[in-house]
């Protein structure tokens, strides 16, 4: 579980994660990027230290309790990033692939809707706050 202020290096993080879990039968990973939508110049994520990382740890605990995993990695960017840059990396190592896929999917759905981040994007030189999306909440219901 990490909050990353600088650039998120998914290749290095995944290589280290794979090395740390040699007995895993497979690793499912997901890299989320800042979507290069029209006119978005910058995306900025702010967080609140006392809640954000503990929240990610609680999310990892619930995934580890639900699936047979060897390990789970959650790295999230904070601060300002440009379109195309990675913003989140999730990886799940497991003996069997279904557990790895499901845990990574579960972690992403929860990060997208429940994690303590506030997002704004700069378009045409002006910052706009991003409101919660209904889809993110309906995605969560899949796991109830």
């Amino acid at each position: 579980m990490r909050l990353v202020e600088g650039r998120l290096s998914s290749e290095e993080a995944l290589a280290a994660f794979a090395a740390a879990h040699p007995a895993a039968g497979g690793i499912a990973s997901f890299v989320g990027k800042v979507r290069p939508d029209d006119g978005v110049e910058l995306l900025e994520l702010s967080h609140y230290d006392p809640l954000t990382l503990p929240g990610m740890e609680a999310l990892a605990d619930s995934a580890l309790a639900r699936w047979a995993l060897d390990g789970l990695l959650l790295h999230h960017r904070t601060g300002q990033m440009r379109p195309g840059e990675p913003i989140v990396l999730v990886a799940a190592a497991a003996r069997h692939r279904r557990d790895a896929f499901a845990a990574a999917d579960f972690a992403m759905d929860h990060l997208k809707s429940e994690a303590w981040f506030w997002k704004r994007e700069k378009r045409g030189g002006t910052w706009h706050w991003i409101e919660p999306r209904d889809e993110d909440h309906s995605d969560l219901k899949r796991w109830k």
Partner: protein, 80 residues
């Protein structure tokens, strides 16, 4: 010493600053009364949560902060 107020997300924009300090002791009504009108109105929104020293309060009305405490005003998250 005072109570530190932290404004997250768009509340920081409305406040014009990420934080401010107010004298304790402080309850929810006192907190709202000490904010500029536009910020108090935004803070009153149903979905705004309060954290006292990093712990979410189940009920905002139960806020009881003293000097040295940190109170964070948290609008709905936009997610990662």
């Amino acid at each position: 010493m005072a109570v530190k107020l932290l404004f997250l997300g768009k509340l920081a924009d409305i406040a014009g600053a990420p934080d401010s300090e107010v004298p304790g002791p402080l309850d929810w009504q006192g907190l709202l009364a000490g904010l500029p009108a536009a910020l108090a109105e935004a803070a009153r929104g149903d979905k705004v949560k309060l954290a006292l020293n990093g712990t979410i309060l189940a009920e905002r009305a139960k806020l009881a902060a003293v000097d040295g405490d940190e109170v964070a005003l948290l609008p709905p998250v936009s997610g990662g």
